[in-house]
Symmetry: C2
Subunit: 401 residues, 2 copies
Amino acid sequence: MNTRPAPASAWSVEAHRDRVEQLLRPLAWREIDRVPMTAALGRRLAADVVAPVDLPVFRNSAMDGYAVRSASLATVPVTLPLAGVIAAGDHGGTPLPDGAALKIMTGAPLPPGADCVVPVEDTVTDGVTVTIEQARATGDFVREPGTDVRTGDLLVAAGTLVAPRHIAVLAAVGLTTVPVFRPVHAAVLTTGDELVPAGTPLGPGQIYDSNGIALAAALAANGVEVVSIEHSRDDAASFREQLTAATESADVVFTSGGVSKGDFEVVKDVLATLGGEFGSVAMQPGGPQGLSVIGGVPVLSFPGNPVSTLVSFEVFARPILRELAGLPAIPGYAVPLRVPVRSPAGRRQFLRGRLESGGVTLVSGPGSHLIAAMAQADVLIDIPAAATELAAGTTVEVREL
Amino acid sequence: MNTRPAPASAWSVEAHRDRVEQLLRPLAWREIDRVPMTAALGRRLAADVVAPVDLPVFRNSAMDGYAVRSASLATVPVTLPLAGVIAAGDHGGTPLPDGAALKIMTGAPLPPGADCVVPVEDTVTDGVTVTIEQARATGDFVREPGTDVRTGDLLVAAGTLVAPRHIAVLAAVGLTTVPVFRPVHAAVLTTGDELVPAGTPLGPGQIYDSNGIALAAALAANGVEVVSIEHSRDDAASFREQLTAATESADVVFTSGGVSKGDFEVVKDVLATLGGEFGSVAMQPGGPQGLSVIGGVPVLSFPGNPVSTLVSFEVFARPILRELAGLPAIPGYAVPLRVPVRSPAGRRQFLRGRLESGGVTLVSGPGSHLIAAMAQADVLIDIPAAATELAAGTTVEVREL
């Protein structure tokens, strides 16, 4: 038996998530960077961008062919004298002589006097004249200025996550920079005397510190810029010093470990004296949680087990961080369980699962230390707090990791 | 009338895509980078990674509580003398005296002699003794070594796109670097005398070069590293020189423009003499396409209209590039048209659309110059070549841009 019911005083998952979101939502109003177009991909536009020019800028040919007056094609077939060639990039000032044709390339400016283009495929030429078989109407194969967008029209709205197609139009109107929100800056601070950095030989009782790098990766994958990844020993003075540095450099701080019921809970001990709230959320894994504001900076304190840390991030931080970054919401589905599940009463359980044809299976038991198993998962399975036994085939909510 | 049937000699979309994929698939076997864990996020793992240690590394406590022998709890309630405290990070060598309890923190090594842990919530202590109400079995709240993963077990398989949960387990076993495939390197080379760089005033007949930066963004958004973005005038010697530089620096080259039926088709003119194949694909937009191999490097030649360029990228390059990068396939759906659609006979049409409740609407007509409209789209609507008129309500395939 390795699971327990939630304490009667536990916060609900929804209540804790709401409080995290309330604390983080003001970060939507962070500073604006004006970045070169090449740096705008994946950033959130901070202001509406309107067209500084018409698109097309000038009347031009939609095809390689011949610019003519449609009136010249009143009787077909007709043979017209060739009066020259207009290439794309030509200034386009040479007028079309009456009753003649000008060879024209796609995108080249329509000459004054011409009102349509005959595609080259529909013509025969001897190099001096061109013979046209089919009548054309005014405007055929002509792109009129402003038919794509007019000066002053909205090109891309504030809040848009900048994708290649947005960059295409912003570049097409000649813009070189765009206003985007700078990313949220986060600091990561792990705790635990048992933790040693990767690359160090393990002594007895020691484990590798994976939470720092894993939280940093989870933040980066969700549009956040990680400004520091630090580790503190279970010592109040050290932790306080590193916490101060973190809150001075970041918009939000994430701590791991030191929030439970042990004798050396440095995160809880220090932050509780600074007004932080620590308690138990009715969930598994990830029950012990803390929430503080230090110097105006939100500090989210997750438990230290690696699975608890990552699940806490998924449940409490990831949705709001994606919203702040302008990233799409995490996809979720309702799918049948392929195996029966037992769950402790009163705790919402987030099991690691794998989508397969016909439903979702578990990749491991509920243990918060099963980090290798979690790497095999692709979804979190959300088991409601009230559920204690779910038969195979029961529909459950899952969301992508 | 601005649309035309496909020429009888046109290649099908499927045939051209197959040839592009055949040319690009060998790029799966590119070199391997051994990168620090922090740089592995979003990269494709180049080799299986197996566990160099067991996880957990040692037998440890799953809870803050008391390490005891389960035999000491044969009769409950029982009051046991407290023999000390074991913190996380302690070496764990001190044995549990017979008939006593050792206070123990989550993650701390279980002392020799103890076989279970009693959670602190289920105990009462006066600081000298601890009173336990409930019997416990061997193994309760104990994490055994190797129960998450055993030395030599597969941790993360070759080909996996590295996500935060993979970084968590790779860091947890103490790895500092991982082998990943380096990204595909691409060069972008746009052509057209009418193009000028953004930030320059437009002269008559000139437009801004948006294809370079848009293609570069599209490549970057799909796991490709862009090594150069260059523009060539419609001059064979200049183009040949820039093409050589591009093929010498990249795994694949993308050109835009110069592939149609005009008099100054520099891309087609140069590459056709070097063995490139140029022709028409039965699609709209994006009909004229070229495919060459120069010095062993595939060169994809897209038409120059900005919408044609981006649609060509979506249809021919993006699926295989995502596969090479280990990124998930592009989501596609079958949805009803909210409006009727007309389409030229014999051409597969890729219309720009927007998903709304109840189906998909068009954001613009078929014109390949409507780049501002494309920025408003979120899907490409795939209209089969045989279709000429589709009523509102007809189910069509769409895929996300």
